[in-house]
């Protein structure tokens, strides 16, 4: 009888031990998977860089697995909006500044307050440029963490400049116009023109950053500083508008077919030496150089601040681009999502983004103290320009306003409307859009 007793007790003890072991083993076996979606995962350089960072993150956090989901930039909002509306969507995703207000208004992104407080609250945020926090903050609530911030500037081909005897990049718009005329020529000397000076991005992809920089460099802007009314009726705006059209239609210093040129088309033209200047930023260097190794881009391309309109009192003369990271409202494991965001925007990764992709950081400390950034001339120029740049209007109606301006500029260039009509129409329609809602 005693033996059976002992047997039962042993069995019971063993069972309890087994259950305890199983219970202890469970957390180690439980793994969370989060999805990260970014259009730059589809790019060659950035994709490798991001995946390397993700691998490092997974090593540091063995209980979190990250599934990378590339999405084409042009279709990003289509895919995200469809998924998030239906209660799904990637846990962490990247956005540029354009649609942020819409995403916030639709309730698709999480308020990051609890995570930021846990990470140090104000001290945590203090390292980011105050500018950079503006797009991601709505009504005092921070919804995203800025990752990369750059300012638009003038990228030019020094070799082509030397060929026509231009010593320095143009500092005013009048100089710019003169320089452009010199740069437009035939490479063979007698044949048709096949080298131009510049191009304007009139297709949707990339229009916003580049054309708005031109307007701002003229001392104008698309909207008034309070974003409530159109600023297209100012004389400066008219000057900028006319300047662009003059370059295309009168001077012909811009290659034909300009209305189809998008950001990538402009890069391609610069790579093939079909143009000598374009509006770009630090990313232009690796991108353009990769397109045409014979160009020797890293040596031949230089960057300078945007030309200015003399007498302009506006301190802002260029546009800022920023990429920020967000957590999906529907995310099932926001803590894991936050860990990924914090990782990707911490100093070590910021340095990686510059090393791999020539992208400046949204963290002031990194831009000002990282040796490689300080040594790189283009990076220093652009970093310095950030203080003179502003973001595009951060209102939900912005995409529609932008389309109206772009379509009217295209119409004026194509000649289906006169310049005055196009500008007046744009001004009127923008105000109509802003007054609605």
């Amino acid at each position: 009888m005693v033996r059976i007793d002992v047997l039962w007790r042993t069995a019971a003890r063993r069972a309890v031990m087994a259950i305890c072991a199983a219970a202890l083993a469970l957390p180690a076996a439980a793994q969370t998977t989060i999805t990260y979606s970014d259009w730059q995962l589809a790019q060659e350089g950035w994709g490798k860089s991001l995946r390397a960072a993700i691998a490092e993150f997974e090593k540091e956090n063995p209980d979190i697995k990250v599934k990378a989901e590339p999405v084409p930039l042009g279709q990003r909002d289509v895919r995200f909006s469809t998924a998030i509306r239906a209660g799904e969507g990637p846990d962490v995703f990247a956005l540029d500044t354009n649609p942020i207000r819409q995403y916030v208004a639709e309730g698709w992104v999480r308020d990051l307050a609890p995570f930021i407080t846990a990470a140090g609250g104000r001290t945590f945020l203090a390292d980011f440029y105050p500018n950079s926090l503006v797009p991601v903050t709505v009504d005092g609530k921070v919804y995203g963490i800025p990752m990369n911030t750059v300012a638009m500037a003038l990228v030019y081909n020094k070799k082509l400049f030397d060929e026509v005897g231009i010593a320095a990049p143009p500092k005013t718009w009048d100089e710019f116009r003169e320089v452009s005329k010199k740069l437009t020529r035939s490479s063979t000397g007698s044949g048709p023109v096949d080298r131009w000076a510049f191009t304007v991005v009139l297709a949707p992809a990339g229009f916003d950053l580049r054309v708005s920089s031109i307007f701002r460099a003229f001392g104008a802007d698309f909207l008034t500083p309070d974003w409530k009314r159109s600023a297209l009726d100012t004389p400066e705006a008219k000057a900028a508008f006319n300047f662009i059209i003059d370059m295309i239609v009168v001077d012909k210093t811009i290659p034909p077919g300009v209305s189809q040129v998008d950001a990538n088309g402009a890069r391609r033209m610069l790579a093939n030496q079909q143009i000598a200047m374009k509006i770009g930023t630090t990313w232009s260097f690796p991108e353009v150089s990769a397109m045409n190794p014979q160009l020797d881009g890293l040596n031949v391309l230089k960057i300078a601040p945007m030309p200015q309109q003399p007498g302009s009192k506006n301190p802002i003369h260029t546009t800022l681009y920023q990429k920020s990271l967000f957590i999906n409202k529907n995310a099932k494991n926001p803590e894991a999502a936050w860990k990924l965001i914090k990782f990707l925007t911490d100093r070590p990764q910021m340095e990686r983004w510059f090393d791999d992709n020539a992208m400046l950081s949204s963290r002031r400390s990194v831009n000002e103290s990282y040796s490689k950034i300080k040594q790189s001339v283009p990076a220093s120029v652009v970093a310095n320009e950030i203080q003179y740049g502003a973001f595009l209007p951060l209102i939900p109606q912005w995409p529609q306003v932008l389309e109206v301006i772009r379509q009217n500029l295209q119409a004026a260039v194509a000649g289906s409307k006169t310049r005055e009509q196009a500008l007046a129409d744009a001004n009127k329609e923008v105000n109509v859009i802003l007054e609605r809602k």
Binding site: S81, L202, P204, P399, Q407, N408
Partner: protein
Amino acid sequence: MIGERYTGWWFVGPAGLVMALILGFPAIAAVLGSVNLGWGSTKPFGIDSYLRLWGDAEFRQSLWNTAIFVVSVVSLHFLLGMSVALLLDRPLRMRWLFRVIAILPWTMPDVIGGIIFRFIFDTLYGGINALGLAIGWIDQPVDWLGRPGLALLSVILAEAWRGYPYVMLILLAGLQAVPREQYEAAKMDGAGAWQTFVYVTLPNLRTMIVIALVLDTVWECRLFGMIFGMTGGGPGQATQNLTLLVYRHYFQFFDTAYASSIAVVLAAILLVAAMPYLRVAIRRAE
């Protein structure tokens, strides 16, 4: 012969069920969305979207563009499709080769077609300008996609090229069912080619022609990829059609109610315009 009515339901059932399940709910949701009753809507029932449509110049321009585009493209499709179908109906040497070539344009999906033709019509890098310059037809690159009239023409030509095998295929299959005895009889009566076409081929093909035209019209009205890829609706709004407008408002401006109302208006116009032809097709041919 009219069959037992319930058996009819059994035959139609599965397809109807699939459509109802998968499409029914979204379609109704879309229509409701246009009057602010869509899910997630914060506004009460209202036809404000439709009122806004009424005064929207961009809507009118898109409507006009759609009309021009569809009429031109469907006509070209019919002309090309009918001719080629007739050609391919004959016993030919290497007929299989010609038939495969005949369908090639249509193997290009409309989205990809948009990208490809954007490149073909590109001012600096495109094939049309390259060919034109090489044979001396033009001496300067022509801005096909940047001038409003030319852009619309380019889009029409591209889609005419791409889509005509669809009509050709429908008509070719239909031609197979024309009884050969009628052709023999016509020949014995001394009819020429044109008379044979008008009095033998056309009447037999009538149903299929109507169906081909109706389906092609519906298809071209909702064409998105080709235009989006080639011009994005530009320059200005010169090539923007209604489907592009819906896309813009839905995905770029996040204005789902307005997008729904445009779509509903488009569907309504199509239904009304197609109605008389549909009556012919719904009834059995005879």
